[in-house]
């Protein structure tokens, strides 16, 4: 049995589900950010695996480069928001940010 497409897709699925669970359960805002990074990495694994194992060619790798750049930008903004949140609430617990509820 050789390494084939389904194995990489399985690794991508594990990364994706871990990220989703991480986003849903962590109460630390930085933890939520880590969950987002995991989800984007799962998508990247899928893109590169399809680029290797199907006739699509190099396009999947280019899209995964875009995903990496957007993840870096997203981390910068989310970190600025987390710092602002910490300065206003003196905690990083996302359950405390409930001023906007009706």
């Amino acid at each position: 049995m050789d390494v084939e497409l389904n194995h990489y897709l399985f690794v991508g699925a594990v990364l994706f589900v871990s990220g989703i669970v991480c986003m849903a359960t962590k109460r630390n805002a930085i933890g939520v950010l880590m969950g987002v990074e995991l989800v984007l990495n799962g998508a990247n694994v899928n893109f590169v695996a399809f680029s290797r194992y199907t006739p699509l060619g190099i396009d999947g790798q280019i899209v995964s480069l875009f995903v990496i750049v957007l993840a870096a930008a997203e981390a910068a903004v989310a970190l600025a928001i987390a710092l602002s949140f910490y300065n206003n609430h003196l905690t990083i617990d996302v359950d405390r940010g409930d001023e906007l509820q009706g």
Binding site: M1, D2, V3, L5, N6, H7, Y8, F10, V11, A13, V14, L15, F16, V17, S18, I20, V21, C22, A24, T25, K26, R27, A29, I30, G31, M34, E37, L38, N44, V45, V48, A49, R52, T54, P55, L56, G57, I58, Q61, I62, S64, L65, F66, I68, V69, L70, A72, A73, E74, A76, V77, L79, A80, A82, L83, S84, Y86, N87, T91, D93
Partner: protein
Amino acid sequence: MTGERFLFLLFALATCGGALGVVISQNVVRMAFSLVIALGSTSGLFFLLHADFVAATQLLIYVGGTLVLLIFGIMLTASGPYVRIKTSPADLFLAAGVGFLVLFMIVGTVMDVDWEQASIKLTGRAIAEKPIGYNELGQGNTARTIALGLIGSRPDKDLGQPAEKGLSTGYLLPFEIVSVHLLVVLIGAAYLARARRRVDSSADS
């Protein structure tokens, strides 16, 4: 056991273990360390997939940049030593159940799809065929192809094709959009940090 299979098992286990470590651990610093393992092993998987440029970029930007940013965030928002932010066990149990269900759903769907038929239906080519313009010598040497695609020309698709087919378009416009987006995002992040300091000084006085 071939070398590729051994390396794949190693990197895949490290990736999944790192991801599970991020989920299970309750300590933010340990979560960051598990994330380093997961992202670094993912770059190893990219090397195995002959995507050397993406793998190097993953190491440089993710492991070298984004994670350092995250660790700075952890340091700057550290709570007191006795303040622990924990998820309740009921929430963890529920999330684990839902997570396993979603995982089984995704894996079942992936196993059900016949990639051979899907590839023929979508691209008109069998899955075993090499991509257009593929040559064995260029395998794994993707930096030049990616760079040409990003500045808007696709010699990997156009060389050897009939002339009346026209030229393929590259990714010049998305590349420019993403660079402007990065600039705007960094200005916005700097503005957020600056606004925070102004609020502080007015609160102190």
